[in-house]
């Protein structure tokens, strides 16, 4: 039984058509938005408030991201390429290393005990 002694006569949900209530004094009436007085409205408002603060946060975040300073892809790509080429010599998986200096390429020695 919801507050105010109202009995819902059909399913109460967020999206259903108007619900008919029968009050204690026998009068029928309906609310277009049925949960005006129910705890559901209060929590709906709270959810809406948290939705609101979430949206505000999202908008602030997007503003922050939009204000990031960017450079052209051509320049960024050139610098990535330059880093690769500068360090290629040290990259063992790329160019290999002189035999004997990659410990993994050496076969494991077996010790006879």
């Amino acid at each position: 039984m919801s507050p105010r002694g109202l009995t819902a006569l059909s399913g109460v949900s967020g999206h259903s058509p108007p619900v008919w209530f029968q009050s204690l004094d026998g009068l029928f009436f309906f609310f277009l938005n049925k949960e005006y007085f129910s705890p559901q409205t209060i929590s709906n408002n709270m959810t809406s408030n948290s939705n609101l603060s979430n949206m505000r946060r999202l908008v602030e975040q997007l503003k922050l991201e939009a204000s990031v300073e960017r450079i052209k892809v051509s320049q960024a790509a050139a610098e990535l390429q330059q880093y690769c080429l500068q360090n290629a010599g040290k990259d063992a998986l790329l160019v290999g290393v002189p035999t004997g200096s990659n410990p993994f390429r050496e076969p494991r020695s077996c010790a006879v005990v």
Binding site: L27, F28, F29, F31, N33, Y36, F37, T41, I42, N44, N45, S48, N49, N51, L52, M55, R56, L58, V59, Q61, L62, K63, L64, E65, A66, V68, R70, I71, K72, V73, S74, Q75, A76, A77, A78, E79, L80, Q81, Y83, C84, L85, Q86, N87, A88, K90, D91, A92, L93, L94, V97, N102, P103, F104, R105, R108
Partner: protein, 361 residues
Amino acid sequence: MRSPPIPEMATQEVQLNETLAHLKTESETLKSKLEEERAKLHDVELHQVAEKVEGLGQFVMKTRRTLKGHGNKVLCMDWCKDKRRIVSSSQDGKVIVWDAFTTNKEHAVTMPCTWVMACAYAPSGCAVACGGLDNKCSVYPLSLDKNENLAAKKKSVAMHTNYLSACSFTNSDMQILTSSGDGTCALWDVESGQLLQSFHGHAADVLCLDLAPSETGNTFVSGGCDKKANVWDMRSGQCIQSFETHESDINSVRYYPSGDAFASGSDDATCRLYDLRADREVAIYSKESIIFGVSSVDFSLSGRLLFGGYNDYTINVWDVLKGTRVSILFGHENRVSTLRVSPDGTAFCTGSWDHTLRIWA
């Protein structure tokens, strides 16, 4: 018929809805503005810039060591800074420390939970961190005494409200960064277990993270089931850049060695490269024949090669600049779940659901 009095709450609700709608429009406008700004600077593709670069020759990479000992799927591994030790964790709760040169097991710990999805070696080499379905990240100091019971010295550091998906020590043994199925990342003080900073912004499970190379400052990147890769400022907790071009969960993120870009691997079967200064995706590594998800990615030392471990049991090696595949490696008998290049770039290690780890060079 009595009509209900209009309560204040209804008016408030209407007002809220109006503001909500207004904010929604504003966010849509900002999103398209962001795309516009990014597109303006998209004057060329990475592979076009790299046309003049010499192509890579044939690669001979083979399994040089196979580490056997886990009783179930290997889920995660990490290298020690000494370039020879490895820590790995598996579905059955076992965490093992190996000497990759000799393939000997040096330490073994059984966690009280299964699915240990995350493990990391401390920079000093004196401890390992791990966690998974227990929602925690625990640190075990490694003792020189082989007989000592490691589990006795365990320290619980991080507490999440869902599974731990990844963890990493920062520059020292003192702080750990974690990501979780609860949608957040967090920075913890190891000694006190105190939460130093939390990072909110993902709309679903966070699956992976990677710290920027120390020269580039205090940022890290995370990837999640919301298909987004977010770059965070560790001090403020703010998300400073966000990228959403993948079509499915992002399983792995790894910084380019210079720190100016990062790669991601996803269930959509592609790896992508995002440049942080251009603020956009600059390359996609994919082939029509590759239809299985990427579980983990890592760069070679110079950043020229990108290694991807895939759910079809293979490892694909990509030319980062040209966008082409240079090699495909076979060997594992089940999904490759984790892949890391060694600290000096001489080899890389993969862990698989076939219970083994392999060292490739």
